[in-house]
């Protein structure tokens, strides 16, 4: 009979996520709207009902008033959503990386499935892992919120807190000297031997390279780039000691590792007798990549404004 009113109530009902009594609420709204139409406009017809509906509020807003006080995830758990997602994602990405390294798949029912994949597929999987982990943590926190008991969730100290250390540790002069010396040595080795990736230095001043000459030179420059980025960042931190600098540094170095993993220049490993250097090389590279990724994520968690982190005392 009142098509617009029925449509309106159906819309309100769609947003009305209450455990029980939804029909009761809708019946009361219907009764109210019809009475108001009749009192304010003389009759409860389609035209008058439409006028009342126009001023009653949009269906979502109407439904939300009934849902005040109900939460999907408690505001106090917002930090946990981001912090826990970071932790779960780090573990997920590390497992995926190990699977990539050992050319295998992993299935931990019912939460983790990592198929055997190439490096490119691994990279493309990371954003999906993040979304999945965010959802998983969100689901967990939803159940914590719905359980009204006071559940104390653990909060690892290294995730920071109200009294965050807003600056990284002060850089040391010794570190800077070491960094510059390291860069100089790498540069000298590149200029002298055209590589820093060698297995042994044979007398008199000869080396046994790890890779074929083109690849050796290319990857040696990338190693130099990493060392230079690290040293420059350290130097900048003497003037501006911030996690933003560390974040940028680790992001750049991570890009270098990704270039290396992608094998932009075809590398052939030179064998030393019966010993295959390939696995030592790959292992070292894997450890360095994981460490850089960890440092990158750590900086990501620390990137936040300096103001507004002090806890405010509550009133009455």
């Amino acid at each position: 009979m009142f098509e617009k009113l029925d449509d309106y109530l159906r819309s309100v009902g769609r947003y009305l996520a209450v455990k029980d009594g939804a029909d009761d609420i809708l019946a009361e709204i219907r009764s109210h709207i019809l009475e108001r139409a009749e009192t304010d406009f003389g009759d409860a017809g389609d035209a008058s009902v439409a006028k009342v509906l126009a001023s009653y509020g949009n269906p979502r807003a109407v439904a939300e008033r009934y849902l005040e006080g109900t939460q999907i995830i408690a505001p106090s758990l917002k930090r946990y959503l981001l912090g826990y997602t970071g932790l779960v994602f780090s573990a997920h990405a590390t497992l995926a990386f190990l699977c990539l390294l050992f050319g295998t798949s992993l299935f931990l029912f019912p939460v983790v499935f990592i198929p055997r994949m190439s490096f490119g597929e691994f990279l493309f999987s990371l954003p999906m892992y993040f979304v999945y982990d965010l959802g998983l943590v969100g689901l967990f926190l939803y159940f914590v919120t719905q359980n009204k008991k006071n559940i104390a969730l653990p909060w690892p100290k290294y995730l920071g807190g109200e009294r965050d250390i807003l600056e990284p540790r002060r850089p040391q002069l010794g570190g800077l000297v070491g960094g510059i010396t390291g860069c100089a040595l790498i540069l000298a080795a590149i200029l002298r031997y055209h590589t820093v990736l060698f297995q042994v230095i044979l007398p008199p001043g000869r080396i046994e390279p790890l890779l074929n000459p083109d690849a050796a030179l290319f990857y040696s420059w990338l190693v130099f780039a990493c060392a230079a980025i690290d040293t420059i960042a350290l130097g900048i931190r003497f003037f501006w000691n911030s996690y933003a600098v560390l974040f940028a540094k680790n992001a750049l170095i991570l890009i270098v590792w990704i270039v290396i993993w992608n094998g932009a220049v075809q590398a052939r490993f030179v064998h030393l007798g019966n010993f295959d250097m390939r696995w030592i090389y790959l292992g070292t590279l894997a450890v360095m990549t994981v460490l850089t990724a960890g440092a990158f994520l750590n900086c990501l968690f620390h990137l936040r404004p300096k103001v507004g982190t002090q806890a405010k005392s509550g009133g009455r």
């Binding site: 609420i25 019946a27 009764s31 109210h32 108001r36 109407v62 009934y66 005040e68």
Partner: protein, 113 residues
């Protein structure tokens, strides 16, 4: 100074006051639309979207009770304060009076500073 939007502050202040007001008006058995009209004529217009969810919360806490009545034209849901609601209302009125007293003292005190 005139362009300050007070709506958020007003909403916060109204939240508690409307509970007392509804508990006070429900000494008489009323349904929603009549309550809106009564409050409007008392100089305190309340939106339906505010009133009905408030009534639902009060009922959930056992402060008011409701029943549907099949009136000749259409069904209406009537509300009435419960005994528990009356006790809570008295306590809330006490809190409100204390708050007014404290505010008055602070304002008078600050006037003499």
């Amino acid at each position: 100074m005139n362009d300050i939007d007070l709506s958020n502050f007003e909403t916060e202040m109204n939240r508690g006051f409307q509970q007392i007001l509804v508990l006070a008006i429900l000494e008489t058995r009323l349904y929603g639309y009549l309550m809106v009209k009564h409050l409007e004529s008392a100089g305190y217009p309340v939106e339906e979207n505010t009133l009905y969810p408030l009534l639902r919360r009060l009922e959930k806490n056992g402060l008011v009770k409701s029943e549907w009545e099949l009136a000749p034209d259409r069904p209406k849901k009537f509300y009435l304060i419960t005994e528990r609601g009356k006790i809570v209302r008295e306590k809330l009125l006490g809190i409100w009076a204390d708050q007014n007293k404290a505010l008055k003292a602070v304002l008078e005190g600050s006037a003499h500073v």
